[in-house]
């Protein structure tokens, strides 16, 4: 099995630890992972702003970089959803179609393809899980509170394998954090208010860490936490799933 690692641009630039943890975790699980060096971005920032017609270059580049792999794995539900829903190519439509089919968000790759049943990680902290909307409602990584259907959660299934980790319950388990791409600046007031409210739910329930399968939500919440001088930290789920005994105090 060959796996191409897709690291979204802002993770590459700002949160390399989330990417490193993703890579190491996959390697630890015996997966042969390559990181194509020519990759840039999935094109979502443009598309969600109404400029999907400007994503041709990103689309072609993505196909060129990733078409060869059996699976494409990324630590971002949102970027994966964008590829799944919107990647297209006039020149190589079949390739685009297969790429759309074999792209996976990290946790769903772990639960659905690798069928991981145990992890060696230890993380002795209280953790609140933020269900990032695109992963949850778009990729259906966990059940949505709006639906009348049996509960499940791929991220929680994995976090439950982490030793000494204590999950905190939330009042609103799957409300949006308000990041929303350019929404976060175009609609600053509502975006910030949504972020503050989401954080308060975690903090009020005793979370020391907020984790998610999407770094963009966490970047937004981290920005607010830091401004509030909060002690609460954000951490990508890969960093927790890959947490070792010795670096448990990150």
């Amino acid at each position: 099995m060959t796996v191409g690692l897709f690291i979204p641009c802002y993770i590459d630039q700002f949160y390399p630890n989330a990417a490193i943890a993703t890579l190491k975790l996959l390697q630890k699980l015996g997966v042969k992972v390559s990181y194509p060096l020519q990759q840039t971005c999935c094109g979502q920032p443009m598309a969600n702003s109404g400029f999907e017609h400007l994503t041709t270059g990103c689309n072609e580049l993505f196909i060129d970089n990733f078409a060869e792999f059996d699976y494409i794995v990324s630590p971002s539900g949102s970027c994966v959803l964008h590829i799944k829903d919107h990647l297209h190519s006039e020149g190589q439509p079949e390739k685009a179609k297969t790429v759309r089919k074999k792209v996976y968000e990290l946790t769903e790759f772990l639960t659905d393809i690798l069928k991981v049943e145990k992890l060696t990680a230890r993380f002795p902290h209280k953790v609140g899980v933020h269900q990032s909307c695109h992963g949850q409602r778009g990729l259906m990584m966990s059940q949505m509170t709006e639906l009348v259907a049996p509960p499940f959660s791929k991220p929680l299934q994995l976090l439950n394998m982490v030793k000494d980790l204590e999950l905190v319950a939330l009042s609103r388990p799957d409300e949006c954090c308000g990041f929303g791409g350019t929404f976060c600046v175009a609609e600053e007031a509502v975006s910030v208010k949504m972020g503050k409210d989401r954080i308060a739910d975690h903090v009020n329930h005793g979370a020391q860490y907020i984790t998610a399968a999407d770094m963009s939500c966490l970047m937004h919440m981290e920005g607010i936490l830091k401004r509030q001088n909060s002690q609460v930290k954000v951490l990508h789920i890969a960093e927790i799933l890959n947490a070792e005994e010795f670096n448990a105090e990150i």
Binding site: Q13, A189, M219
Partner: protein
């Protein structure tokens, strides 16, 4: 609308200046969403009902021409006079003509979002006709000279103290009184007098049944019935998309409507009007006002399946924190944001962007309208039609250039630099909308790419 040229973001900014009030608004509507969840969970067949309702509505849209004709002819056989209005103005003129013929200058109206969309009240008032809204929430916003902020809960943005003040001024309740029980009792007395003295009543229509030519009106207060059964003239106004094929289909829609709207198992009154009362005139106006155009937009037509339950508003994290008036259109919230651009793309170009695309709206929708996908698609149409901010277009082109060219991207700088300069939300200066209330991420020593190249252990 009196919101001038302010867009959703600017209006939300004003709404957010009082954070405690935003919290109150959010909590109040979340409470309604929670009631909806509870009600939905009482029925194990909930998702099957949604699917069935969705398919019925799809079918109606695909056969609307025949169903409209069938409905018209059956309603006429029942003694209902049918009118057709191509747009809001024609709708308003028809109402006015009916009233003129009967020399009626004062009337009562129960809730109808269509008449809000057509600005009927303003039109009639200009023509010397007094309209009293009889839904309590609508009467409150009417007294306050505001539009409704929610299609089911028209005055959800108002606090009881403010309503108390209004009632003190207009209905003579004691100064400072704000108990909902007392205020509602005062409104009951005030509005009962109107019901007893007005000769004409307007109602909306929730469902019109092709097979039988009857129409159904749902209320909790009973105001539609009080108006209709005491009037000489009953005028029902409906958009052409409200048709359903068979009476039996109501079982599906009535099970979904109130549970989705307020969490009630059904509205208190679900009234089936088939024939006028003896001696009464019953008119029904079928209104297009952009609906046939929307029907022709393949990506957006299924917004016409909407049954106006308001669930998408209650669940929308943006709506709850920006208030209904921030949408500057008769129908606020996610559904309003996909309906309004059809009528005026320029004026409502901001609305499809007033969303994080979280998708909760789509999940609560009882007729499974893909609301968040339509928001995404409207963004593409609005940009292509040239209604995007030109500065944004330039920034997007610059971004496209870099992201399509790995070497440009790579050479754009070390970790964080390119993103900081080019991702529009991450520019570190005081004017920046990110930085006002959020700190920047700390740029790391090296990007992942740099780390990978050094540590590549393949």
């Amino acid at each position: 609308m009196s919101t001038g040229i302010k867009d959703h973001a600017a209006l939300s900014d004003i709404f957010n200046q009082d954070e405690a009030r935003v919290d109150w608004h959010d909590e109040t509507l979340w409470f309604v969403r929670a009631k909806r969840d509870k009600a939905a969970n009482t029925l194990s067949e909930w998702e099957a009902l949604r699917e069935n309702a969705s398919q019925i509505k799809d079918h109606v849209l695909s056969n609307l021409h025949d169903y409209l004709s069938e409905f018209e002819s059956n309603a006429q056989k029942n003694g209902i006079t049918i009118h057709w209005a191509a747009d809001a103005l024609e709708h308003n003129q028809i109402v006015h003509e009916i009233l003129k013929a009967k020399e009626i200058t004062r009337m009562v109206k129960s809730k109808s979002m269509l008449t809000e969309e057509c600005h009927l009240n303003e039109y009639l008032q200009k023509n010397g006709i007094e309209v009293i809204d009889t839904d309590l929430g609508e009467r409150i916003v009417q007294l306050a000279e505001e539009p409704p902020s929610h299609i089911v809960l028209p005055c959800i943005h108002k606090k009881k103290e403010e309503i108390g003040e209004l009632f003190h001024e207009h209905l003579g309740t004691p100064k400072g009184a704000s108990d909902p029980q007392l205020l509602t009792a005062a409104a009951r007395v005030h509005l009962r007098e109107k019901f007893l003295t007005r000769r004409a009543a307007i109602t909306g229509v929730n469902f019109a049944i092709a097979e039988t030519g009857e129409f159904v009106v749902c209320t909790n207060e009973g105001n539609a019935d009080m108006g209709a059964h005491l009037s000489e003239v009953h005028i029902a106004c409906m958009g052409i998309e409200k048709i359903i094929p068979k009476r039996a289909n109501l079982s599906v829609f009535l099970r979904l409507l109130a549970r989705s709207a307020t969490g009630q198992p059904i509205t208190t009154y679900s009234s089936h009007f088939r024939r006028p009362r003896e001696g009464q005139e019953m008119h029904l106006i079928l209104v297009d006002n952009g609906r046939t155009q929307q029907l022709g937009r393949a990506d957006f037509r299924n917004a016409l399946k909407c049954i106006r339950c308001g669930a998408c508003m209650n669940t929308c994290p943006v709506y709850r924190r920006s208030g209904g008036h921030s949408y500057h259109t008769a129908i606020a919230g996610p559904i309003g944001a996909i309906l309004a651009p059809n009528l005026d793309m320029k004026q409502y170009a901001d609305l499809p962007f007033a969303s994080t695309l979280c998708g909760s709206c789509t999940n609560v929708c009882p007729v499974k309208i893909n609301i968040h996908e339509q928001l995404y698609k409207w963004r593409q149409v609005i940009v292509k039609e040239g209604y995007a901010d030109p500065k944004k277009a330039i920034a997007m082109k610059a971004m496209e250039f870099t992201l399509s060219n790995p070497s440009v991207y790579r050479n754009a700088g070390k970790a964080g630099r390119w993103v900081m300069k080019n991702i529009p939300f991450l520019v570190n200066n005081k004017l920046n909308a990110w930085y006002n209330q959020r700190d920047m991420p700390t740029p790391p020593q090296q990007s992942f790419r740099e780390w990978y190249k050094k540590n590549n252990n393949e």
